[in-house]
Symmetry: C2
Subunit: 122 residues, 2 copies
Amino acid sequence: MFIEIDFNSSEALYIQLRNQIIMGIATSTIREGDTLPSVRQLAENIGINMHTVNKAYSVLKQEGFLQLDRRKGAVIAIDVNKLQAVEEMREQLRVLLAKASCQNISREEVHQLVDEIYEEYM
Amino acid sequence: MFIEIDFNSSEALYIQLRNQIIMGIATSTIREGDTLPSVRQLAENIGINMHTVNKAYSVLKQEGFLQLDRRKGAVIAIDVNKLQAVEEMREQLRVLLAKASCQNISREEVHQLVDEIYEEYM
DNA sequence: CATATGTTATACTATGGATATAACAATGGA
DNA sequence: TCCATTGTTATATCCATAGTATAACATATG
């Protein structure tokens, strides 16, 4: 299992789970059509509560990364409104880059970071 | 006052405050050496509790953007460990760009977004 | 001396995260 | 058909955090 939870982190467990799964998709560790473990299985596997996994899955469903099917379980299925996705990204980058700018991190340095990270993805 | 708080947002008030002040620095609305209102003044001004403002100021102090002085009040003073700042940025971008990658937002599109946003700053 | 500053302490309410049981309808395999 | 497993929903409890409300203190300014 590619999922690693940090119980000492201040980040909510279900958010960590969400992030790990999105990273899994980005790095092709899991692909469209693959199924994730059932909420009960994954919960037992990680050692957390069923509802915490369920919440992570619900968020991923809401964000258009998962489809929940009683027959097949949790299936990776990308269904994204790209215009909306870009606007959400812009808002998050606005805050992140404001801080970066204050810290004298240049535009070029950000571009390089983006390139480095994108090499791991796709 | 350049600070605008959204009371309907799910984001914590002190985080909104922090973000607005960082954006204020990034856009040169406030500059190094400028003083922010006292915690009591700003609290009354916005219509929130003194301790909420105090928490925002404490976070900004912790992050190296503010110096709190009993004589001068809250003074903008950038004191940043750049190496650490870049690493923190990398971690945040890792999650953000993983999602972007899953949503078929290309590296070039991200670069363009970064450029657009950076035009407002510096 | 009076006022305003940052700082600290305590207490309360509300909300959200995480857990624990429990139950339900629907599906698939034996 | 029977049974186990699936996603889903409903409660209830515990704890941490956010926000508010008072209050008090040392210090600095006028």
